[in-house]
């Protein structure tokens, strides 16, 4: 942890966005994570994405559970809303917040321990509700904060710094999310912002649950030889399927679609994802095929990245529930709470 604040000096050539903010205006406090932690890179990618999307920081809520990863919302968008919940319980807090105020951008930041060990039940239900949020798992295969015990995402045979290799099967959040009906599922790597930033932008703009599982090496407890979540291992075994570029609404799309390798997908707000097939055999709109492809590669120790599954038509939580547009706080009290007579009448209808 640095003792000094990040200098206020800026590069005069730094661009500003439509709101007149520079990227620096989307930063948060100084990180207290270990130097070189992958999580800090993901923080930087989030800063870049929100800056490039011209989002007003106060229109964002960032939520997390417990863990090094879950500390990171303190390090970006200091002018936004935040909630640091109990370990593994971030999804239910987002569910509540989102139910009450659906117009904000929700970003949940969690860890592999937070989401796949203690919080797997909550995670699974947020997926199947297609809650409108960006859900980032900063996946390092260990409980970083509690000094590096294997988490539920640790691969079979992965070696710890000290002690015996992992003997339990890993839970793959990507496979799990695709099989449970998620509408936007991606995997990326903290060391590849070219891939990660557009995915984050698309995930924020996607209407529904967007999961990005980001391999994020723990430099202190899981970056050694024999680890399957290290910088070196990830770089050696990465297989990119579909590279996504994000094009904001009303910006001209200048791509040659002739080759058939690039397709354009319109998102709800008029922005587009340009999907470029890196592996021509991959289809991001076929759940079964995607799962089989990912599992197949996983068996060979490969890390499949890119936009792995997408379904823009799936209704999100509010659409399914038929809830009102207005944030609940804006409803007049008599509509929000029509009184015991109205309740009695409603109950009568169920008899």
């Amino acid at each position: 942890m640095s003792h000094i604040a990040k200098p206020a000096a800026r590069h005069p050539g730094q661009p500003v966005n439509k709101l007149g903010f520079s990227e620096r205006d989307y930063e948060g406090g100084m990180s207290t994570l270990c130097a070189g932690c992958g999580h800090d890179s993901i923080t930087a990618a989030l800063v870049k994405a929100f800056f490039e999307l011209d989002i007003e920081p106060h229109r964002v809520a960032k939520l997390s559970g417990i863990g090094c990863s879950s500390k990171t919302p303190a390090y970006f968008l200091s002018a936004s809303h935040g909630f640091n919940s109990v370990h593994g319980r971030m999804p239910s807090v987002v569910t509540g917040a989102n139910a009450a105020e659906r117009s904000m951008a929700y970003v949940g930041v969690s860890g592999d321990g937070d989401s796949l060990s203690i919080g797997i039940g909550q995670f699974a239900h947020a997926v199947r509700r297609n809650l409108n949020m960006l859900y980032i798992i900063e996946n390092n295969g260990v409980y970083g904060l509690t000094k590096g015990q294997f988490s539920a995402s640790a691969d079979l045979g992965s070696k710890p710094k000290k002690g015996a290799p992992n003997q339990l099967s890993p839970i793959d959040p990507v496979n799990m999310a695709i099989s449970m009906g998620a509408s936007f599922v991606a995997r990326s790597f903290s060391g590849d912002k070219d891939q990660l930033v557009p995915l984050i932008k698309a995930g924020i703009r996607h209407d529904g649950f967007a999961l990005i599982d980001v391999i994020s090496p723990c430099v202190t407890f899981n970056d050694h030889d024999g680890s399957t979540k290290s910088y070196q291992y990830t770089r050696d075994n990465i297989v990119e399927t579909i590279h996504t570029d994000f094009v904001p609404p009303r910006q001209e799309i200048t791509v040659d679609f002739a080759s058939g390798e690039v397709t354009s997908v319109r998102l709800h707000d008029g922005s587009h994802m340009l999907l470029k097939k890196v592996d021509k055999a991959y289809n991001a709109d076929d759940r079964a095929a995607a799962i089989s492809y990912i599992q197949h590669h996983q068996a060979e120790g490969r890390v499949v990245t890119g936009l792995l599954y997408f379904d823009g038509a799936e209704p999100e939580f509010h659409q399914v529930s038929g809830t009102c547009q207005e944030p609940l706080r804006d409803l007049p009290h008599n509509e929000l709470c029509p009184g015991s007579e109205a309740l009695a009448k409603l109950m009568k209808g169920y008899r």
């Binding site: 200098p7 270990c34 070189g36």
Partner: protein
């Protein structure tokens, strides 16, 4: 560094020039004064050490802390960061003003001389530097000066309200007191005669003593048209103590600034500086213009002198052509005269430049002069075409400034030593460098890496209603303790270098993400022009280098650092998990003549 289309070569940081250039101020200083180090010494209250460190390079810290042309300040990185350079020059004055008695740390001449006698012509800063460097080695130095006092233009032309006489005297004495044979009131009128006296070498430090003339109609009438440098000299020697009420100064260089402000102190109340061209084309430094305008001097642009106007033999005014210019990209492309005006005045002072003049050097001595009648002088050795005769200061290549004259003096001293020891003059010792880590703990450094947002401290001046009472009242009051305590923190410690160890980098991006000024990028290598556009922020500041690493171990990409805006905060090194970045203090050792002598002693 690289040609147009091939990828950049990895930067060779073993060449001392690379890191030296990063220390913008030191690189820009003709004498390469170690600015960041003396600023840190001031911050620690070590004024004597700060003074002595300055003296090593620039010989006259008290003088230069007031009147240096300060090429370091426009170069200062802080200018690019928040628009205003660190007050490098005025901090030098802080070191001089706050030092205690340093006499026992000043160089001394040995009792036993080395048998070599050197003649220096002129007791200006160039000759004095030669004496300063050679006396401690046992040379016997004789300085011939036509005036009754030493100091050259520093005494005769730089007014006392900018440079107090005691400050000048003290720093000259430090040199002369080593035992220099100073012959005052001794003008050299024949080089031939001097050469016949059998000195082992001769150094010409006679300056550029002739003010340029303006031959226009009416120039030959009356006594109220003065040559600026001669007039200032007469004022300095108290031969002139008054001037008319209305004064026109012709020219807008630094001499003009001293003339106009001096005129105000001798009784003028309406002083106009007449410039032929618009602002932006003036020779005077911005700060000299500011100081003159603060004293209500009017600067009149686009007026080209046409004639001196007299009435019955008395100067009554001057005629000017009013000019109009077309300017494209900072260059004048078209010039037009659009009007003529007459301005009344009592005196005119011509301040349009100086020339070298060597009427006392016979032209049959194998000292070659070029087509402009200036001596042919080697830019490295400062030797003329006659072996053993050296030139330096304004006498060498025309008017410059004190700090250049000092550097010429250092270089000429080396040449004189080599010449007297029968060594090749071109055999110069290359600079060496030293890098040492400043790491003290996990996130602790031996320098103050925290960034100060303070703005440049304003120099306080004597009140306008008091400062004209006497010519000698020094206008600048110097920095108060509060002022300089804030100012020293503005220095970005550019000598604490970011040193990169390629093989340690795991490409985690931490350094890139933390850097406040977007200096760092990991990317595919490419040609420089292409690379400069692909960085975290575009890198287009001329003269600011890119550092390019070897291929990185994991991906073969390269680490690129744009040196331009690095604030040396050390955060890249603090966030690096593998210490691939380290903050290392860089010291360059540029060899003065004492090291030539020491090397010789060691190898003998």
């Amino acid at each position: 560094m690289s040609n147009g289309c091939s990828p950049m070569e990895p930067t060779d940081t073993s060449n001392p020039d690379y890191f030296h250039k990063v220390v913008d101020c030191q690189w820009a200083c003709p004498a390469h004064t170690n600015v960041p180090e003396y600023i840190r010494l001031i911050a620690q209250g070590r004024y004597d050490d700060a003074y002595m460190l300055n003296r090593q390079s620039n010989v006259f810290p008290g003088i230069l802390g007031r009147v240096c042309d300060r090429p370091c300040e426009p170069a200062c990185r802080r200018t690019r960061v928040d628009g205003k350079a660190v007050a490098i020059c005025r901090l030098k004055r802080v070191a001089a003003d706050h030092r205690s008695d340093v006499s026992d740390r000043l160089p001394r001449a040995p009792e036993k001389k080395n048998g070599k006698r050197i003649a220096c012509i002129g007791a200006g800063c160039a000759s004095l530097t030669v004496a300063n460097d050679l006396m401690p080695l046992g040379y016997e130095i004789t300085i011939f000066e036509r005036f009754k006092q030493p100091g050259g233009l520093m005494r005769t032309n730089i007014p006392a309200f900018r440079l107090p006489v005691p400050v000048l005297d003290e720093e000259i004495e430090a040199i002369v007191d080593m035992g220099v044979d100073l012959r005052l009131g001794h003008e050299i009128t024949s080089m031939k005669a001097l050469l016949d006296e059998g000195f082992d070498a001769v150094f010409v430090g006679s300056g550029a003593p002739r003010g340029k003339e303006l031959n226009l109609p009416g120039r030959d009438q009356g006594e109220r048209i003065h040559i600026g440098i001669d007039w200032l000299e007469s004022v300095a020697f108290k031969h002139i103590d008054a001037i008319g009420k209305k004064v026109l100064i012709i020219g807008v260089g630094n001499t003009a600034m001293d003339c106009c402000r001096t005129a105000l102190r001798l009784g003028a109340d309406d002083v106009k500086v007449m410039a032929r061209k618009p602002r932006g084309f003036f020779k005077a430094s911005d700060w000299e213009l500011e100081d003159a305008e603060e004293e209500n001097v009017e600067i009149v642009i686009n007026h080209s002198p046409a004639a001196f106007l007299h009435d019955n033999g008395t100067l009554v005014g001057m005629r000017f052509d009013v000019m109009e210019y077309d300017i494209d990209n900072g260059r004048i492309t078209e010039t037009r005269k659009v009007d003529t005006v007459d301005l009344p005045c009592d005196d005119v002072i011509l301040a349009i430049g100086q020339e070298n003049a060597f009427p006392w050097i016979e032209r049959d001595l194998d000292i070659e002069f070029d087509q402009w009648d200036v001596p042919v002088v080697d830019r490295t050795t400062f030797q003329s075409t006659r072996p053993g005769v050296f030139f330096g200061g304004d006498a060498a290549f025309g008017p410059e400034n004190i700090i250049w004259a000092v550097e010429h003096g250092h270089q000429a001293a080396i040449s004189i030593h080599q010449y007297c020891q029968s060594e090749a003059l071109t055999d110069r010792l290359p600079p060496t460098m030293n890098l040492s880590s400043t790491k003290m703990g996990l996130h602790e450094w031996s320098y103050a890496n925290d960034y100060s947002s303070a703005t440049r401290q304003q120099m306080r001046h004597v009140d306008l209603d008091r400062r004209f009472d006497e010519l000698e009242i020094e206008v600048e009051l110097g920095f108060s303790r509060e002022d300089f305590k804030a100012e020293v923190q503005r220095c970005l410690n550019c000598d604490v270098q970011t040193v990169f160890d390629t093989k340690l980098c795991i490409e985690c991006d931490a350094c890139i993400d933390i850097c406040p000024t977007d200096c760092l990028t990991i990317t595919k290598n490419g040609p420089e022009s292409d690379l400069r556009n692909r960085l975290s922020a575009p890198a287009h500041t001329p003269g600011q280098d890119l550092f390019v690493s070897d291929g990185l171990p994991q991906t073969g990409r390269v680490m690129v650092k744009d040196e331009d805006l690095c604030v040396h905060c050390g955060l890249c090194a603090e966030r690096c998990p593998t210490a691939a970045w380290d903050m290392q203090q860089f010291t360059i050792n540029l060899k003065h003549v004492d090291q030539y002598a020491a090397d010789k002693g060691a190898s003998a």
